[in-house]
Symmetry: C2
Subunit: 341 residues, 2 copies
DNA sequence: TTACAATTTGTAAAGGCTTACATTGACAGT
DNA sequence: ACTGTCAATGTAAGCCTTTACAAATTGTAA
């Protein structure tokens, strides 16, 4: 029968060091307002007791947390994971901490996570894409929590953002595909419901087709969740159609890589028989053979800039607008000329 | 000049709904102790104000957070990201929330993160691997925070864990490599300092070599951080040695895939000229050609079991011990017989 | 109608920390 | 020795919630 030893508090430390709680607090927060001698005593007591300040109490008393929350659709997507890593590193150098949550692409869960992060005292929030229930934006307004949108650029939306133009990027890629003579295009896309990035990429292709005098309704479309295997299955479905598309554009690299694997399994040569493109430019893109033509998403730069911007917003910077970082085409071996008829 | 609108508190809600703060609190926590009529009034007030309970205050008053912290080396490693996703999903179904932090494989940062998570009120902690400063275990003890180790299995260590035997798994793989006639083995490993998983995998190969009558000191070793490009460079270095190894085992799939890419660039055929193996069995392993022989790490099962176990520990379950989930060999095309001399 | 039980609501203390303000002490200048 | 400064430390209020306990309300049985 052992007594549960309560976790030590500021008070315990003060008692052991023979000082007041205020002094202990100062040792931790404003160390040079306290004598060397006293500080040593206090630090020793802290070490002896294994004391750790209670974050909740501290936040409550000081009304700030130096914490910024981030909500991404899923950690399984390498491009988000990378972006977050950069975001966190930048935050760290400014003394801020990151709180992450993932929504599994579900708006209801995202909303729950937003509330949870706000309740936890996040001083600001990082969100992916603009599209969500207006209710949420009202809530953040009511709580006066600044929010920054990343992964999107749309100057028509008056909300701070750091990202790139998904539509224009995909447009550029599709234009290149068309330039190489392809006329029967297909798209393997992530589900577009409540996903403005996916929708804009699709619209980018439509734009390019229109500009080339094609009917955008002829774009063969398969929607499927983010997973290599799904890319493979979607590719199967497309290859079974008549007439076969000669170029399969994919909403992201993971789907594209699944498509490439299945092409090999079906005995189709890339790009001789069919061209395949991706979007994101994750490491994977250069590991497959042939290397994947794709769009490079500036995830590191986006993460870093987002961190800086958000910190500015926390400090009251009100001048933040939409920033376009641009996304660069990476033309590689998986995209070739249209096969001879 | 706009007044900063303070974020609404329990008190504000109570005032607006004409009830006491206690009643509002009950609406949130014990809804059926309060009349339908009152509850509606209160809920309306909450909605009107955009109120969100203050997590810190709540934690302080109720002395629990229903939050479990997890610290992984990096989010960029897909295998950890996957494991965490499963962990989080399981936690969610039990009403718990996950707090993540990543240490970049640096013990000092890990320690800082552990303190931070504890301070934030984590009821328990998930940690990767056993090896860390004993000081940390003492600290957790002093704070009475239960901790569970994953990704490792070592029955000699009396500490709750859910994982698999890295050494035995790598031993099995190396045994198969030797069975296929390979005698000149190389290992591309993650840095082993403060990384018991990497070290155990290396020792597994030593075990197999000894059993086959080889001198484990003949294992050609390159240590390099987790990144595809590093795998490629390490492979370069190994191929420049004389005599060349005929089989290159890798500490993880990412390094292995880098090695495979470089093999292709060097004009070496896998597995005809050189065999390559990985460890983890991430999706990547089946995307490359030939598919990568590797060891399947039961990341989902591990995440799920870890969540259940940890919740049990929070509730006072004291009977937790070391659990071995096993890791299965995945023999695939990148491992072949030793080339004729 | 009255008394009592059961249900609903209110009151106030506690929880760990920061910080404005008050107090003490040391030291320089005279 | 005495006063005035300034640095170091202490005191106590306040941050927002939960919850034990008290009070009020409702319903029921006699």
């Amino acid at each position: 029968m052992k007594l549960t030893k309560p976790t030590p508090t500021l008070h315990d430390v003060a008692a052991r060091a023979n000082v007041s709680t205020a002094t202990v607090s100062r040792c931790l927060n404003l160390p040079d307002q306290v004598t060397r001698r006293t500080r040593d005593k206090v630090m020793q007591a802290i070490a002896d007791l294994g004391y750790a300040p209670n974050f909740g109490a501290r936040a409550m008393a000081s009304r700030r947390t130096n914490t910024i929350g981030a909500i991404i659709p899923t950690m399984e997507n390498a491009i988000f994971a990378r972006g977050l890593q950069a975001f966190q590193e930048e935050l760290r150098t400014h003394g801020f901490t990151m709180l992450v949550a993932s929504s599994s692409y579900r708006p209801d869960i995202e909303q729950e996570q937003i509330r949870s992060l706000v309740a936890r005292g996040a001083d600001a929030l990082l969100l992916i894409g603009h599209e969500r229930d207006p209710e949420i934006y009202r809530f953040l307004e009511a709580q006066s929590i600044p929010a920054l949108i990343v992964w999107a650029y749309d100057p028509r939306i008056a909300r701070p953002s750091v990202g790139f133009d998904n539509r224009a990027a995909m447009h550029d890629l599709a234009k290149e595909v068309l330039r190489r003579g392809h006329r029967r295009l297909a798209l393997i896309s992530a589900p577009v419901a409540m996903n403005d990035r996916a929708r804009e990429r699709q619209e980018g292709i439509h734009d390019a087709m229109c500009a080339a005098g094609l009917d955008p309704r002829d774009l063969q479309l398969v929607e499927t969740p983010y997973a290599i295997e799904n890319g493979a299955m979607a590719f199967d479905a497309l290859m079974a159609r008549q007439p076969r598309p000669t170029a399969v554009l994919c909403g992201n690299d993971v789907l594209a890589v699944g498509a490439m694997r299945r092409a090999r399994e079906l005995g189709l040569r890339v790009p001789d028989d069919v061209s395949i493109t991706g979007f994101d430019d994750i490491e994977l893109a250069q590991v497959v053979y042939p290397p994947l033509a794709t769009v490079h998403v500036p995830h590191r730069e986006m993460g870093r800039r987002a961190a800086q911007t958000l910190i500015g917003m926390v400090h009251g910077d009100i001048s933040v607008v939409a920033v376009d970082l641009g996304a660069e085409l990476k033309l590689r071996g998986s995209l070739g000329d249209v096969p001879a008829a």
